[in-house]
């Protein structure tokens, strides 16, 4: 049993793809390669691990946003889809940060 509403949505999404220019995708690809080159350059700077981790993670978040927004088409999705999926993901990942203070505790206080 086919669902006509599903088929209609699939046809509409395919129509959206037909109207997208390829230029933004090539630009995003170029930006991602440049950001990767910057990351490799930073990898060879003798920085404190915590500072280096913060900078590299910020760059990775920018790269992830570009991939999700353009390559994964999220930029063109309905607001409800966009905010519900992304907010729940960020919330769940942020909850895992609860473990980090423990890592710093070991680092600064030592293990007895």
């Amino acid at each position: 049993m086919e669902d006509a509403s599903q088929l209609a949505i699939e046809a509409r999404v395919a129509e959206q793809h037909r109207h997208h220019s390829h230029t933004p995708f090539f630009v995003v690809w170029g930006v991602l390669l440049v950001l990767t080159a910057i990351e490799v350059y930073l990898g060879y700077q003798n920085m404190e691990p915590k500072r280096m981790l913060s900078i590299l993670m910020c760059l990775s978040i920018v790269k992830a946003a570009l991939i999700i927004g353009y390559f994964m088409h999220m930029k063109y999705e309905a607001s409800r889809m966009k905010y519900l999926t992304m907010c729940s993901l960020v919330f769940c990942l942020a909850m895992m940060m609860v473990f980090f203070p423990d890592a710093f505790r070991i680092l600064y206080l030592g293990v007895h």
Binding site: M1, E2, R18, L53, L56, M57, M81, A103
Partner: protein
Amino acid sequence: MAEAAVTHDVAVYEPSLFGTYSKKIGMWLFLLSDSLTFGALLYAYSYGRISITNWPTPFHSGSIVNATIMTAFLLTSSLTMVLAVSAAARGKESARVGWLLATMACGIGFIVLHGREWTHLISEGLTLPIFPAVPGQDAASEFAGVSKTVPQFGSTFFTLTGMHMLHVTLGVVYLGIIALRKKFIPILLACWLAAWLLTPAYSPFHYAAHVLLITAIVCSVILWLKPKVYDAADTEVAGLYWHFVDLVWMFIFPLVYLMSTKIL
């Protein structure tokens, strides 16, 4: 509505709350759950990196160049995947298959380079207790001490990158099925045989090759139960999975490789 569902081949249901089709929502839900798996592994690695002061920095410039090329392969594969989705939406079947094959080629390039990196690290003594012993391995190998002094490095490194490599492998198979359907099954079986017979018995890839056999069986059953021509929507959903694999690597590469670079 209910009558239509019973009496006609095409039913009309309420449109989705999310403004898109169910297959895509299903894939997004899977990717959200999978990102939590990778999130936990990445957090575990970061925890060790921060809390252990003598964390090893084993990656020479050769490894960094290798990992940078792997990153370029994945980024390029995402671009070719976008072009495959676009070709599918425009109804250009040969272009769709061509771009999908290009994406798979980049993915295979990534797996081969990653396998080479693993083989190098294992031969230098960075290993896990579950890996078979490498015959004739020098006790004074470069990383022989690392597995004993900081065992967290090997366990988190191999778990995280191994999990990602598994995802890339499954992604290549997924794209192969979307592109070539049942014609891909013999190719997959040939790859399994080659990977199994050409790798030495002490290599973890000798055993990991059986993943290809399992996927060949699963894909055969799926194609037998539900044979269909994969359309633009199927290609887009496969693309979401592939971009996710690329996305995860954007965190693994800086965290695992660049944070453990050996600066001379």
